[in-house]
């Protein structure tokens, strides 16, 4: 379970996914442009831990309200998939992925979390996020948030996490996503946008497309970060990803059926949902990224 704090929830409740009705002279009220003006100041982080969220209490999971609705079992637009509630009690959380994770766990004999951490620690799966154009680390109405994979052999400390303050080079020929974002009370938020999330684990490389993605990052005073990424993942894509993980044949068909059963987003002409909602939590530490 990722470390989601109360303040994040406050931010969740306070900030809506789209426009608000705040007065015109509030810079935070204006809609974000596609890109914010860049200045010299930049702060980067590298993900040191990725947490696949599970419903430790049934019906409860951190995440985002991606579709702006609290869906019950009768909601056809969400293909009758019931929304979840966050640990702090917020309703409408879209994270059907949390139902898939235990199955993936079993199917990979419990090796998934360790495999992800190993991939991060040996440099295979290093995702950096950079905040560009930062004028005030606590409050800035317009910054750019950049996602990219970086390379290098990271130093890993005795706490089995990548050490802070390291410098990495951007991985060539890999997609870079840049999106406008806001910083409010030390929390960076962006979205909705489309994001390709690179995953390299168990000898497999993927880019998971997250549609309608949201990101929230809390920047602590000791320069560590915790955050949440959410979005809708196309089911067929997830099936291909799962086939890339070494899963026994009989279990694979189970996994496939399960993926198809959790779809709650992006209905087609016949009303069949093609994507499922997902959220992952992460910890990060400060880093420097060379372009």
């Amino acid at each position: 379970m990722g470390p989601i704090r109360r303040s994040l929830v406050a931010a969740l409740v306070a900030v809506s996914a789209g426009c608000s009705d705040a007065p015109a002279d509030d810079p935070f009220a204006a809609p974000l442009p596609a890109q914010c003006p860049a200045t010299a100041r930049e702060q980067s982080l590298v993900i040191t831990r990725l947490v696949l969220l599970r419903q430790t209490t049934p019906g409860v999971s951190p995440g985002f309200d991606l579709d702006g609705r609290v869906s019950g079992a009768d909601d056809t637009l969400s293909c009758r998939r019931r929304d979840l509630t966050s640990p702090e009690g917020a309703a409408g959380i879209d994270n059907q992925f949390s139902l898939l994770v235990p199955a993936l766990d079993t199917a990979t004999s419990g090796a998934l979390d360790a495999a992800i951490q190993a991939a991060i620690n040996n440099g295979q799966l290093m995702v950096a996020m950079s905040v560009e154009g930062l004028d005030d680390r606590l409050n800035d109405p317009c910054v750019n948030l950049v996602f990219r994979r970086v390379q290098g052999m990271p130093f890993v400390g005795s706490d089995a996490r990548i050490d802070p303050g390291q410098t990495f080079d951007t991985l060539r020929d890999e997609p870079i996503s840049r999106v406008a974002a806001r910083v409010r009370d030390g929390v960076i938020e962006a979205g909705p946008f489309d994001l390709g999330l690179p995953i390299a684990v168990l000898d497999a490389r993927f880019v998971i497309p997250l549609k309608n993605a949201r990101v929230r990052i809390r920047w602590r005073s000791d320069d560590t970060f915790e955050g949440l990424i959410g979005g809708a993942i196309p089911a067929d894509h997830m099936i291909r990803v799962s086939e890339g993980l070494t899963i026994r044949g009989d279990l694979m068909s189970l996994v496939r059926r399960l993926i198809l059963s959790i779809t709650d987003m992006d209905p087609d002409a016949e009303g069949n949902c093609r994507s499922f909602s997902a959220a992952v939590a992460f910890d990060g530490r400060s880093a420097f990224v060379n372009p």
């Binding site: 130093f155 005795s158 706490d159 050490d163 303050g165 000791d222 400060s286 420097f288 060379n290």
Partner: protein
């Protein structure tokens, strides 16, 4: 043994009158306005010269410079034993342990084998072709040429003959001329004439003070400036007597200063001055310092040495910048600890020059992992140790030992005593403690933002850190202010001078040498506090050539 009491040397055997010494005219330089030039002459009473054992670094340099860069010195060697924190002073007082004798013997045969069993390497030192298994003429040419380099002076006829005989007997026994030479070479490498630096005086002439023989002077110059034995050019200057003239001496010192080997002397000095050799044994608890790994101590040492070399030799600037500069050298590991972008231009050893941003809380030496980690504990900082380092190494204040039978307990962190400053209150409140600790703790507390391995932290146990204080009535708000206060303190450059003097002379300065150190210190200021220039000043000084004490 680390007693910090000042060593007092009694004057040498002969009662010395205060004798004026004259130095060659100082080089022209544009002094700061208001800085007066140093006096031309001062009194100087020095003790007798002593034998100095080669340090490990000097041994390795000797092998590489005199026998070949490609020889591997890979066997264990007698360790350097500091005395009162100084390796040079220790080298001037220690002998060889029985284990050390064994180790040098094994090394000697290993090196002889490496050199003489390889045709290309052997050709460097042996130009004649032996005519028989025993060829005294050819052996002699080898012994003379190599012995002169290794023993840093020409061998006497008797010494040469003995070694040639040795080589001949060995050649006979082993039925091989070159194998025979190995034993002669091994004898030269095990000899006290190689392992110890003998500094002999020439008999005094009239009222003039006794001076070192020219070969001894060549050795003193080379080991001081280069931390290595004299090269052929320096030996030649001793041989033809030019080293004994003011111009000849200055010419050699200028040549040596221009050589890249000057970096060796500088590094040996800085290592000794700041005690960087202790980094080998530094121990930190990985549960507390998760990003401290086994490659950090060596990297930290290299950083400090690189910066010193950069300021003193490459840029040749006011060396006081050592405590205020934003420049430093880091590899990827150190860049990570300092939370700065790793440099893009790297030396082959992975280090690169960086300039820390204006906003950086670090300046100069007091921001280096080397100092911050050494003057700390395995699990925490130690303002007392850091204050002691600044006092002793940078300001040359003597700090007495703590009295025995005193309760030195520091309270554990608690909700009412969170920061080090709060926990150290007892040192300040108790009059028994306060007399010394008032000199130490407040200064060390200025560095509390840097944890036990030198990483910056915003607070201590969640409480804000107050890094303000004063250094002998100069107040500062933080580490930057402290660094500036040290930079501006007159004691700082005088301390650098004293330590360099101690390194060059291999002894703690005595009362009779204070005037000379004062003169050099003034010269240091007069010359814009340039360290390269100070090294030359010492090397060309009349005092450096003096061999009082009556050694025949």
């Amino acid at each position: 043994m680390h007693a910090t009491s000042k060593l007092r040397w009694s004057p040498a055997l002969a009662a010395l009158l205060a004798v004026a010494c004259s130095d060659p005219a100082p080089p022209t330089v544009t002094p700061d306005a208001g800085v007066t030039p140093p006096p031309a002459t001062v009194t100087f009473n020095a003790p007798a010269p002593v034998l100095r054992r080669l340090t490990q670094a000097q041994y390795v340099h000797a092998v590489h410079d005199l026998l070949g860069e490609d020889l591997l010195v890979s066997r264990p060697m007698e360790p350097d034993v500091p005395l009162n924190g100084s390796i040079s002073v220790g080298a001037a007082s220690t002998s060889l342990s029985p284990r050390g004798v064994e180790q040098y013997e094994a090394l000697a045969y290993d090196l002889a084998e490496q050199l003489l069993r390889n045709d290309a390497r052997r050709a460097r030192v042996l130009t004649c072709t032996p005519t028989a298994t025993v060829d005294a003429t050819c052996a002699e040419s080898f012994v003379r040429a190599t012995g002169r380099r290794l023993w840093r002076r020409p061998l006497t006829a008797a010494e040469t003959a003995a070694l040639v005989t040795l080589a001949g007997n060995a050649a006979t026994t082993l039925n091989d001329f070159h194998r025979g030479l190995e034993f002669a070479l091994s004898a030269m490498l095990q000899s006290p004439h190689f392992l110890f630096r003998t500094e002999l005086a020439e008999p005094a002439v009239g009222a003039e003070p006794a001076r070192f023989s020219l070969y001894s002077l060549a050795g003193r110059l080379a080991f001081f400036l280069w931390n290595s034995p004299p090269d052929d050019a320096l030996l030649a200057a001793a041989e033809d007597g030019s080293l004994g003239t003011d111009d000849g001496l200055r010419a050699q010192v200028a040549r040596m200063s221009a050589s890249p080997r000057l970096a060796r002397g500088l590094r040996a000095f800085v290592t000794e001055w700041l005690g960087l050799q202790r980094l080998d044994a530094v121990s930190k608890d990985p549960m507390v310092f998760t990003s401290f790994s086994s490659d950090v101590p060596a990297a930290a040492r290299e950083e400090t040495l690189s910066l010193a070399e950069h300021l003193a030799l490459s840029r040749d600037v006011d060396f006081r910048e050592f405590v205020t500069t934003r420049e430093t050298f880091v590899n990827r590991r150190l860049a990570s600890i300092y939370n700065v972008r790793a440099p893009s231009e790297l030396r082959p050893d992975g280090f690169g020059l960086v300039t820390l941003p204006e906003t950086s809380p670090r300046r100069g030496l007091l921001g280096h992992v080397s100092i911050l980690a050494l003057a700390a504990h395995p699990t925490s900082t130690s303002p007392t140790l850091r204050g002691k380092f600044i006092r002793e190494a940078l300001l040359c204040n003597e700090i007495p030992m703590p009295p025995v039978s005193v309760n030195t307990a520091l309270p554990e962190p608690s909700p009412s005593l969170r920061t080090m400053r709060e926990r150290l209150q007892r040192h300040q409140a108790d009059p028994t403690c306060n007399s010394c600790h008032a000199l130490l703790d407040p200064i060390g507390l200025a560095l509390e933002h840097f944890n036990g391995i030198g990483t910056w932290r915003p607070n201590d146990q969640g409480a804000p850190i107050d890094a303000s204080g004063s250094l002998d009535r100069v107040t500062y708000r933080d580490a930057l202010g402290l660094s500036q206060a040290i930079h501006d303190a007159p004691a700082f450059p005088r301390c650098i001078t004293t330590r360099l003097y101690r390194f060059a002379y291999g002894r703690h300065e005595g009362d009779g040498e204070e005037a000379e150190i004062g003169r050099l210190s003034q010269d240091f200021a007069y010359g814009g506090y340039r360290l390269r220039r100070l090294m030359s000043s010492i090397a060309t000084s009349a005092a450096f050539r003096r061999a009082d004490g009556g050694t025949p």
